[in-house]
């Protein structure tokens, strides 16, 4: 009987019982004894201005307050792509809520009370809140020193402006492309900033040893090693003197990638008067949006040339991302959207400008999909709108212009193999797209819509992974792979790989949460890269461990390694009739026929770096291989709208992606369902709003609304196609983020079908939909309010 493969097996997720029982320890659960100090930020009350004076004398009088630290005590710029951010405002504040001082105390209450007593005197300056305004000449500059900030080579800020990042695509002849068109149409869509809304707010504890100067950080971090690197660079410490321990995190979605709230805590832990005592910074929910990043607001404008037969001849794309006060991480989603700005279509002549623009608001950065929900939220609405305007079926229009395998993307890279055409047809069939059905609810309006998704891992060309696999003395296996399993199920999939490769039961494989002092390097848990990149490293580590074990057994049993198998933890040589469970010999050494011991603990090593990515040219965006791979997919929704209130109910959502190979079907299904709900939630409810002075109106869940179980679709159907990827551990490619990319656009397209008016501004709240219906009744075709 053929052995059942663990690749593609439906298995139980690891770590779920501990999570359900509440015994798994998160960062905030850790105990540090009475040595622990607590930090709390005092925050700016104005959106823009110079700090004239900070008076914290009253804060120091609060019993328990140990010290107050201000920005100029810790002026280090930290950051991953563009170092425009300090832990606290130094000289100048740039948004309401920016930390201006840090109160450190013996208790959390004292720190909070102290923070309330810090008084700051400002000289107010003119703020700018709107990205379009901020791009204008003579707009007030959020970062007058932009030209002096350090940044990576593939990020291109424009000093002397508010443009933190400008990514360009110049492919073909754009003018000629428009001349060849029979129709040239323009459309635009926009969306406010939104929030990750992870269950666990940020927390970290930092400690510096006064003698060795070594720094230890316990943090709610997605990416222990990148955090280590950025801290080490900022503090000018060697890597081995920074240790990052990342306990399990309660959701990340990009909001805990790179370096987030840690510098604020380090400002206290490194203070000469505090050094040696651990300092804890817990960021309350109400302060999350002003301490770490949100998803950038965006405006997508597309001018499209289309021929009579529906072929796209040219596309001019302008993407404006409102990155708030920092583009430290946010510069890269701007780039990611830019080099994918063709969407899922072949566009022979394309001109794209993707801008990240500073404004005096909390800052934007990584969020599930990383530039692509932003791009496709616009582009898939544009494509749909244009299909209707030229009188073509939206699905036919998409299929006609599909970026088929081998055709060049906007960077010139040939599109790798995929099954998107099949996926589109399947999704359309599953929601019965072409059949107009009466509404289920009396008096409501029904509509169906579809949108396509595409995304490549957005990461530096040399983002690497490594892992070790140690076969323990009883045949169980210890896997060190510094991915953060934040709910996506990485450790379950890794256990499946190890079980498959080593022939041990999955229940006997254990993956540990990241600790840079114990585990080998991995860049970050982002970009849907883990099961691909770390998957390669783990598979190679397994191969290494297995060949070590087989070589020892071959000598021990006096046979060839090829004659030995491992099944269910039993090492067998059918030829010799031998079979035994893996035992202490793998740890202590094998006593060979010559009487001598050989071996010792078996540790397999594996590493991986993408071999051939070339950064796009800074002027044209062209590159023979701009990204490692693309994952494509489509989502369709069948919805109904209550015309009396604007309420939307999603009857059914269908989502399909080309995963290459599904390793962990349960996790893939969960990811698709979760991302679909998250995307629909963003489309229906989510937006971060400010008053006219830049004060946040939606700091917590009272007014920042995400979908509850009462708001999710009645039915979600997911499926995967499997066109293999190469290189890849099993043909699999990233699929974690993709389900978040296009549900909102599909919803908008279905809404248009239902109510006959195109809404150009996300989210589609009940109020906005109601107002649009009223406008439609007046005969309007577009709603911008």
């Amino acid at each position: 009987m053929e052995k059942k493969s663990m690749i593609g097996a439906w298995v139980t997720r690891v770590y779920d019982p501990e999570k359900a029982a509440g015994t798994l320890k998160f960062t905030d659960d850790l105990s540090f004894g009475s040595e622990l100090l607590y930090a709390r930020a005092a925050r700016s009350t104005i959106p823009c201005g110079k700090i004239v004076n900070i008076d914290y004398s009253e804060a120091l009088k609060v019993p328990g307050v140990v010290k107050v630290i201000v920005g100029k005590n810790f002026p280090i710029h930290f950051g991953i792509y563009l170092k425009d951010r300090t832990a606290m405002a130094v000289e100048k504040v740039r948004y309401i809520g920016e930390p201006v001082a840090l109160v450190v105390a013996e208790s959390e209450d004292a720190a909070e009370e102290g923070a309330l007593k810090v008084r700051v005197e400002y000289e107010e300056e003119t703020p700018v809140f709107d990205a379009a305004e901020a791009m204008k000449e003579n707009a007030p500059l959020v970062h007058p020193d932009l030209g002096s900030y350090e940044h990576v080579s593939f990020v291109t800020p424009v000093p002397g402006t508010n443009i933190a990042q400008h990514f360009k695509i110049r492919r073909g002849d754009i003018e000629k492309g428009f001349e060849e068109a029979d129709q040239v149409l323009e459309e635009s869509f926009s969306c406010p900033q939104i929030a990750h809304a992870f269950l666990e707010p940020h927390a970290c504890i930092c400690l510096q040893d006064p003698v060795s100067q070594e720094v230890t950080i316990w943090s709610t971090a997605q990416s222990a090693f990148t955090l280590r690197e950025l801290v080490a660079k900022g503090l000018e410490l060697p890597l081995h003197k920074v240790r990052v321990i990342a306990p399990p995190i309660g959701g990340g979605f990009g909001g805990k990638a790179g370096i987030t709230v840690e510098p604020l805590c380090l400002a206290a832990a490194l203070d000469p008067d505090i050094k040696g005592r651990p300092v804890k910074l817990f960021v309350p929910r109400e302060e999350v949006l002003t301490t770490s990043w949100v998803r950038q607001g965006w405006n997508t404008k597309v001018k499209m040339g289309v021929k009579k037969d529906g072929t796209i001849s040219a596309m001019k794309v302008e993407l404006v991302f409102d990155t708030g006060t920092s583009a430290e991480y946010g510069a890269n989603p701007v780039r990611s959207a830019g080099y994918t700005s063709m969407g899922c279509y072949y566009v022979p002549n394309i001109w794209t400008d993707s801008y990240g623009v500073y404004t005096n608001k909390p800052f934007g950065g990584a969020y599930r999909g990383f530039g692509l929900p932003e791009l496709m939220g616009g582009l898939e609405a544009v494509v749909d709108a244009i299909a209707y305007r030229i009188g073509m079926d939206p699905i036919e229009f998409r299929l006609k212009n599909l970026l088929k395998p081998g055709l060049p993307t906007c960077t010139g890279m040939p599109m790798p193999p995929h099954a998107l055409d099949k996926i589109i047809k399947k999704v359309a069939e599953k929601i019965d797209y072409h059949r107009e059905e009466p509404p289920v609810r009396k008096g409501w309006k029904r509509g169906k819509g579809i949108a396509l998704a595409i995304k490549a891992p957005a990461m530096p060309a040399d983002a690497s992974s490594s892992a070790t696999v140690e076969i323990l003395g009883d045949g169980s296996v210890k896997v060190l792979a510094a991915t953060m399993d934040m709910g996506q199920g990485a450790y379950t999939a890794y256990a499946q790989i190890v079980s498959e490769e080593l022939g041990v039961p999955m229940e006997r494989v254990k993956c540990y949460y990241p600790d840079t002092a114990a585990q080998p390097y991995d860049w970050q848990t982002v970009a849907s890269r883990s099961l691909w990149s770390m998957g390669m490293a783990i598979k190679r580590a397994c191969e290494d461990a297995r060949s070590q074990l087989l070589a020892l057994y071959a000598e021990y049993w006096q046979c060839n390694p090829e004659e030995i198998t491992i099944e269910d933890g039993i090492v067998k040589c059918p030829k010799l009739g031998k079979a035994e469970p893996i035992d202490e010999k793998t740890q202590n050494g094998f006593k060979m026929p010559d009487g001598k011991y050989k071996g010792g603990p078996i540790i397999g090593r594996g590493h991986f770096v993408p071999p051939d990515v070339v950064y796009p040219d800074l002027e044209t965006g062209q590159s023979e291989k701009s990204v490692v791979h693309f994952t494509v997919g489509a989502v369709g929704v069948d919805i109904e709208v209550d015309p009396g209130t604007g309420e939307i109910v999603v009857n059914k959502a269908v989502a399909g992606y080309d995963a290459g190979r599904v390793i962990s079907p349960l996790n893939v299904k969960c990811q698709i369902e979760g991302g679909t709900v998250q995307g629909l939630s963003a489309g229906m409810f989510e937006g971060i709003y400010y008053d006219k002075n830049g004060k946040l109106l939606t700091p917590d869940f009272t007014d920042y609304k995400i979908a509850t179980t009462m708001d999710v679709p009645w039915e979600i159907e997911s499926f995967c196609e499997e066109t293999p990827e190469d290189p890849s551990p099993y043909g699999n490619r990233g699929v974690g983020e993709h389900s978040m990319i296009s549900p909102a656009a599909a919803l908008g397209n279905a809404l248009y079908k239902a109510i006959g008016i195109r809404i150009h501004q996300y989210p589609f709240t009940r109020e906005r939909v109601y107002m649009a219906i009223k406008a439609a009744e007046r005969g309007e075709k577009d709603f911008w309010g």
């Binding site: 209450d109 009396g644 209130t645 409810f685 509850t708 009940r766 107002m771």
Partner: protein, 288 residues
């Protein structure tokens, strides 16, 4: 949250004396689902929090031939699970069911929702329709006050230091009745009302009588008395009358624009939900 002292009196008298002693530095707590949030946001900063949960007199939901008594510690869940509430005060049941979610309803109290006195308080429009009275004890003894006199404005109520609301009382409608509460929020659970409409219809001595009350569209809940008058005696209002009634209802309210909704939408929804609420009540009376 800033530090505070917690007092847990076991009798009304003890609670009153603590509250009187500390004056406006103390605040009573029933479910605490509003109070603790407000403390966290520093909207209120009591030095002493007086937990009422151990006082036996404040517990329970009791029904008699005169009406319904809801004790200060009765949770939304207790109220909505009461058979008497389902039979005689369906608008209140709807209101409790629309409040937050199951977890919070297991803790939040109906009286607490009244005492918070926020314009969007879900249970209040129903209590306005049922002519509820608020029963208070304090250093100067007991008093009783109609709910619309008790609520003075956003987070303002007619109470002095040392006073405690012991219960609300809802007289039994005089005649066969039906009722409903329709809530519009931004999503289907765990939200504050953008507009809340309670409607009660009673077949009394003088024929069919309607009561309409609104939440989240004025500084306090409001009754639409003119709209009620226009409906008086009519068992099957037609579309024209419903249009007129919803126009009158819009005149009775005075919504503001905030991050939750704009004025135009709130007014439109007052109109829409008024029609739906009346329809529902008329249908529910037919069914019985």
């Amino acid at each position: 949250m800033l530090a505070f002292e917690l007092e847990r009196p076991r009798s009304l008298q003890e609670a009153i004396s603590i509250l009187e002693k500390f004056g406006n530095r103390a605040m009573p707590k029933a479910g605490g689902t509003d109070l603790l949030m407000w403390m966290k946001d520093r909207l209120v900063t009591p030095e002493v929090v007086v937990d009422l949960s151990l006082i036996p007199d404040l517990a329970g939901v009791n029904f008699s031939k005169d009406g319904l008594r809801i004790g200060a510690m009765a949770t939304c869940t207790e109220v909505l699970e009461s058979a008497a509430v389902e039979d005689h005060f369906p608008a209140l049941r709807d209101a409790c069911l629309s409040h937050s979610d199951w977890l919070i309803r297991n803790r939040a109290t109906v009286v607490g929702n009244v005492c918070s006195a926020v314009p969007s308080g879900d249970v209040m429009p129903a209590l306005y329709c049922y002519d509820a009275t608020i029963r208070i004890v304090g250093p100067r003894g007991e008093r009783s006050i109609p709910i619309n006199k008790f609520i003075l404005g956003p987070r303002k109520k007619d109470m002095i230091a040392g006073e405690i609301v012991t219960h609300v009382f809802l007289p039994l409608p005089e005649g066969k009745s039906s009722g409903c509460y329709l809530k519009l929020g931004r999503r289907n659970a765990l939200d504050l009302a953008q507009v809340g409409v309670a409607c009660v219809a009673i077949d009394g001595k003088n024929g069919r009588e309607y009561r309409l009350a609104y939440g989240a569209v004025a500084p306090t809940p409001v009754r639409a008395l003119e709209a009620e008058k226009a409906l008086q005696g009519i068992k099957a209002p037609d579309d024209a009358l419903l249009e007129k009634v919803s126009a009158l209802a819009k005149e009775a309210v005075k919504p503001i624009a905030d991050v939750r909704a704009g004025v135009e939408y709130r007014l439109a929804m007052v109109g829409e939900l008024t029609k739906r609420a009346i329809d529902t009540c008329v249908e529910r009376l037919k069914e019985e």
